[in-house]
């Protein structure tokens, strides 16, 4: 602006220049006042902890006494810690089961619910409602239903002539039961997202394919599925990030047991930092998880190219 052709009088130029500068300075001040709370909270409680966590992971820290530098010892110890490798295995197994199951069931239900039949709104509501229930409430509810002695689940099995199951108290079943509970609550989300995407399948495209003699399966495979690909990729990313971060449900139902069969990575981090008071070690484990999540994020970015939605998505999973 200041490089505009010089006005006739110098004083006028000066005055205008000064007003402009003052206005811009005031604009900057106002803008900063508007964003300051957000900047303070967001950067103060994420960038600072992000760096702090990295430093912490190179130290031995019990959250009380002064910490001491140990270099990569924490990471070294993680590679040799059988509990950590078990946590990684459990988390991967949980993710590998939960993501495809919830998505497949979600897609199937969305395709069915996309029809114009009566009560479709009621069905959608019933399937979606578990999603808004907190993991805590889910955990408490299912601990009750699946109680090996008094639970309703075993009494139903009893009526069917099947012997009592241990469910969450059986090391061989507990993780699978957790997957089942998560599928129960997480499928509604996939249904809603897929339903929204199905609205975007152009009717003219379906009509054209139908006129060309495409059957139901061919329509699904060659017209509907391709238009759903971006949404499916999003859901893979979203569900995976959420699955890798599972904690609340585990804490409420099994506390990582029995015999460590449901210890997931976040539970491991929490246990190290806030139960065993080895915060540095916990921070190192958290960094391993964060790097895995970052790798997934980067990979998905490469697959999907530039899509602005991606960045906004990660937040919901972060809490």
């Amino acid at each position: 602006m200041s490089s505009l052709p010089a006005p006739l009088t110098l004083s006028d130029h000066d005055r205008r220049h000064r007003t402009l500068r003052r206005r811009r300075r005031r604009e900057t001040a106002t803008a900063w006042a508007y964003i300051l709370p957000a900047v303070l909270v967001v950067l103060g409680l994420s960038i600072v902890p992000f760096v702090w966590s990295l430093l912490l992971s190179f130290r031995a820290d019990d959250l009380v006494t002064p910490s001491r530098w140990v270099g990569v010892d924490n990471y070294d110890a993680l590679t040799q810690d059988p509990h950590f490798s078990q946590a990684v295995r459990n988390t991967l197994l949980y993710t590998a089961l939960y993501v495809p199951l919830s998505m497949a069931l979600g897609l199937f239900l969305a395709l069915v619910l996309n029809r114009r039949i009566k009560l479709v709104g009621l069905y959608r509501t019933l399937i979606f409602v578990p999603f808004v229930i907190s993991a805590t409430a889910q955990g408490v509810l299912f601990s009750f239903i699946l109680d090996p002695e008094f639970g309703a689940a075993n009494s139903v099995l009893h009526a069917l002539g099947i012997s009592r199951q241990g469910f969450l108290t059986d090391p061989g079943q507990a993780l699978l039961v957790l997957v089942a509970i998560s599928v129960w609550s997480g499928t509604g989300f996939c249904v809603v997202i897929y339903l929204a995407a199905l609205q975007d399948v152009p009717p003219s495209l379906l009509e054209a394919a139908r006129l060309d003699g495409a059957g139901r399966w061919q329509l699904l495979r060659h017209v509907v599925m391709p238009t759903l690909t971006p949404v499916s990729l999003f859901l893979v990313l979203w569900q995976t990030i959420n699955a890798l971060q599972v904690f609340d449900l585990v804490y409420v139902t099994t506390k990582g047991g029995p015999l460590g069969s449901t210890t997931v990575i976040v539970y491991f981090v929490w246990e190290q930092a806030f139960k065993n008071f080895t915060a540095g070690y916990g921070a190192a484990a958290a960094y391993v998880l964060a790097l895995a999540l970052l790798a997934i994020g980067v990979a998905s970015r490469l697959v999907r190219g530039r899509r602005p939605a991606g960045a906004v998505l990660v937040e919901g999973g972060a809490k």
């Binding site: 106002t30 803008a31 508007y34 964003i35 709370p37 957000a38 909270v41 967001v42 950067l43 902890p49 992000f50 702090w52 966590s53 912490l56 959250l63 619910l113 029809r115 114009r116 039949i117 009566k118 019933l126 578990p130 808004v132 229930i133 907190s134 805590t136 409430a137 408490v140 509810l141 299912f142 239903i145 008094f150 309703a152 009494s155 809603v192 929204a196 379906l206 009509e207 949404v231 971060q245 904690f247 804490y251 409420v252 976040v266 981090v269 930092a273 915060a279 916990g282 921070a283 958290a286 998880l289 999540l293 602005p308 939605a309 960045a311 906004v312 998505l313 990660v314 919901g316 809490k319």
Partner: protein, 293 residues
């Protein structure tokens, strides 16, 4: 353009006449699949409500009664008579209400500045804020605990409130929405001497209801339902939130399942009510935040 609408109409109506000749049942055969499936989804919640009104005798026998013989409010009386439970409810309500209000206020202010104002460093700041969304909470929770400890806030509601005051999600969702509004509306008022704040309050915000309700709904859902952070930040049971209280409640009252389930109903109720009352806004907020941002 009119051609496509004409084409679209029969395409929408087509399935009905095609399916009609094959139909033998008085209703769509899909109900045979959807009815049991959706019941399966609803059953645990139905059981939650049923068991909360059972007497302890009905719950503690095997096999347990699958239907209460009468409505026994003992569980609810026990929970509400418990000195702590109403307090936990109030704590949850305070933390969630503050989070919703402050996310709306600070999210709108921040979003507006990013959308409409030019200032040095705005791009860098915006990228930095966007980047923080990729940082998982588990990575920041240990240092956040240490920060709160240094501030002397551990074991107070302040430790729960401060981290949830404003999320980058709120700032960005609102920024994106503000960008989609036509500038001209604001400029007229602005030139007439309206201050930025008045423009935001009188013109921009009333037009931004969908985005604001998305932020409100999702903030309420995540704060009300959160367990991890309260678990870390709070030790003393007078400061518990409902979710945290429920986990300890369960351990202490294992035999009193009716009471535990009554507590669970009370914990779930606000979210459930919010969802049933504003179902459309709820679902829209989930899909819009998920897909369009």
């Amino acid at each position: 353009m009119s051609a496509t609408t004409v084409e679209a109409a029969p395409a929408q109506a087509r399935p009905a006449p095609v399916a009609a000749p094959r139909r033998r049942l008085p209703f769509s055969p899909w109900h045979l699949l959807l009815m049991p499936l959706s019941l399966l989804f609803a059953l645990p919640l139905v059981w939650l409500v049923l068991s909360s009104v059972m007497s302890n005798a009905e719950i503690n026998r095997f096999p347990p009664a699958l239907w209460p013989s009468g409505i026994d409010l003992g569980g609810y009386r026990y929970v509400l008579g418990n000195a702590m439970f109403p307090r936990w409810f109030a704590n949850s309500l305070i933390v969630s209400a503050v989070a919703v209000a402050s996310n709306l206020v600070f999210g709108a202010l921040g979003g507006y500045a990013f959308a409409r104002m030019r200032f040095a460093g705005s791009r860098v700041l915006m990228v930095a804020m966007l980047a923080t969304m990729a940082i998982p909470f588990q990575l920041t929770m240990i240092p956040t605990f240490l920060i709160m400890k240094r501030l002397g806030l551990i074991d107070t509601l302040g430790a729960l409130i401060i981290p949830s005051l404003v999320t980058p999600f709120a700032v960005f969702l609102l920024r994106q929405f503000f960008l989609s509004l036509p500038r001209e509306l604001e400029e007229a008022a602005w030139i007439d001497g309206c201050s930025r704040l008045r423009v935001l309050y009188l013109i921009v915000l009333p037009l931004s209801r969908p985005a604001l309700s998305t932020v409100a709904v999702l903030t309420f859902l995540t704060t009300w339902n959160d367990l991890t952070w309260p678990l870390i930040a709070i030790n003393h049971d007078t400061q518990y939130t409902l979710q945290l209280g429920l986990t300890t409640f369960q351990g202490q009252h294992h035999t009193q399942w009716a009471a535990v389930m009554a507590g669970n109903v009370i914990t779930v109720l606000p979210v459930l009510l919010a969802f049933l009352l504003a179902q459309k806004a709820f679902i829209q907020s989930i899909t819009s935040s998920g897909l369009k941002g």
